[in-house]
Symmetry: C2
């Protein structure tokens, strides 16, 4: 096993531990037995995941000369709380039934209500409980970040990035709602949504946080690295997500085949398809996309159009091109050799993943 | 006009200004014109309100010897962002149509979608946008608090209270969902929900924050003041809310008459009514409470039972008793005379309000 692989394993273990311990420290949650379902739901949500966001943050910190301190794992792990919050609320907003192959949080609370035979609407109870769970995770992400134990000057230097990232994420999600509502998406508008809703807070901002923490603020080369490497890896990351949402293996993604098609997501992949489609192909896409009852045959028909128009190949090529540009930029950055190698590996992992 | 009244007016003006300026400083929101509805919704939500929470915080600070610094208005004003967030999410969870006599946030976004004739479900768009708006307000409450400009040792001393308050609020709201779902409420369980969902973050914790900010942490007498004065005013505040939800003047509350009855809220007032009701009265309450189609006659019938059982009188007396105990405790606290007088006035205002 090489050094980076060993570091990645250590990082994952540390992040897992930080998250477990943090949730268990939430005193108001352990006092009342009725609150136990909230704590359990949080812990289960936080148990999985690729820990990509903490990894970008950690290697930003190390790349700018930060030492391997316990506090940086705490700060990096806090990004998983933000991500978990976004997933819980996203599933409520999309009315998604599944998350990583398991019932989504609101469906679990809904089932708890139904099983107990409680009063009122089980669906409304599930939605309410999931909104509150997402809020807890959002609050805790800020609390864990601030309480990381890193020096105050580190935290103060990175705080503007942290504040910006959180507002930007919510704005990106709102732009996504608008994009779905407007219906007629272009590649450019889908790209902007992908960047603001996902790319930025998955890659660019975690990296920026790590760099800013280590340096107590951002220097021009750091900003340059984040906006070139970070943006490109972020967009390619989301483009891979678009492809997995249509062609992904349900056993790996934990979502039914073609789930994004059933939900009618207006992705970069769909925009490329529509831009290159014949009138007949475009009509087929428009008639099937977003049909909640879309079956395997419908999914197969849409997949065929996405392949025949060349949109799939085009997106794969774009991912490759973005990755190449990102790696070239990484080569120029004055970071440590170990971080350069780890960030290169992370860029590949984020854009070639199967789930 | 006496000194306290002048101070209260100044406080309100300062809080208004801080909130307006803060929202306008949110750069990611001003960049894209599509985000303007989020910013406008936030500003409108923050424009109203009695500013009770900032007032408890401000007078805690002054009471413990804090000077009249600009930063304390910022820190106090941040509580209004937390409150606005809770209201937006509450209305989503309760599916409420109105807030202060105007359409609730999710209904406004829903109407925006419907008016524009966009794709997909207008209701789902409204819900999603309101969840995101609530998240923005929640994030900003922490950001404004931290960025108040008060000395780091003040903020560090009060941060544990701040963290605790936010988690406690979400847990309290979850307990409220459970209380409504369980249906069979007792006075004790309704009181616990009232305390955790509303009382604590409306009175006790804002006061505690102000005291902790001024002293860089909490001394025993401060903790004592918060748990006696704060808890009692908080419960009486919520009990007044229960009464207004049934007997309030729609012109003042901005909600239809008897709205809490239609929603089937399991309040302390309802628990007292059921505890004192004859079997016939109890059957009537159970048959009408929570009926979405409850008309004026039904509201009048329920009001009659609430009065005839003596529950209304009992709750009014409890409010009076809690207020007396709170004021007695205030007399013993080693705070400044000006703060003592202002906190006494605030306790009366919070528990005898008409809206």
């Amino acid at each position: 096993m090489n050094t980076e692989a060993a570091s990645m394993d250590t990082l994952r273990e540390q992040v897992d531990r930080c998250l477990r311990e943090f949730v268990d420290r939430q005193l108001p949650l352990t006092g009342a037995p009725e609150l136990e379902p909230l704590r359990l739901a949080a812990k289960e949500l936080l148990a999985g995941g690729k820990r990509l966001r903490p990894a970008f943050c950690y290697w930003g910190w190390r790349g700018a000369g930060g030492a391997d301190l316990p506090g940086v794992y705490q700060a990096a792990a806090s990004l998983e709380l933000l991500q978990a919050s976004a997933l819980v609320h996203d599933d409520v907003m999309d009315k998604s039934d599944l998350r990583r192959g398991m019932p989504s949080a609101h469906r679990r609370f809904e089932a708890m209500h139904a099983d107990a035979g409680w009063h009122g609407s089980a669906e409304q109870f599930g939605m309410g409980a999931a909104i509150l769970l997402g809020n807890l995770l959002l609050i805790w992400s800020g609390e864990m970040w601030r309480g990381s134990g890193l020096p105050p000057e580190s935290l103060a230097g990175a705080q503007p990035v942290h504040d910006h990232m959180r507002t930007e994420l919510m704005c990106g999600q709102y732009l996504d709602l608008l994009e779905q509502a407007h219906g007629e998406n272009t590649f450019e508008s889908a790209l902007r949504v992908a960047l603001y809703k996902s790319g930025k807070y998955s890659v660019e901002q975690p990296l920026r946080l790590g760099l800013a923490l280590a340096a107590g603020g951002l220097t021009p080369w750091m900003d340059e690295l984040c906006t070139t490497y970070g943006t490109r890896v972020g967009i390619a990351f989301q483009m891979r997500d678009d492809i997995l949402g249509v062609f992904g293996d349900p056993a790996a993604t934990g979502k039914p085949a073609g789930d994004d098609l059933r939900e009618g997501k207006r992705t970069m992949l769909v925009a490329r398809t529509l831009a290159a489609a014949t009138p007949e192909q475009a009509a087929l896409v428009r008639s099937l996309l977003g049909d909640p009852g879309l079956d395997d045959r419908g999914v197969a028909a849409l997949r065929e159009v996405i392949e025949d128009t060349g949109a799939l190949k085009e997106c794969e090529e774009l991912i490759g091109a973005y990755l190449t540009e990102a790696l070239a930029c990484l080569d120029q950055a004055p970071i440590t050799a170990e971080a350069r190698s780890a960030l290169a590996e992370l860029a590949v992992a984020a854009t070639s993943r199967q789930a």
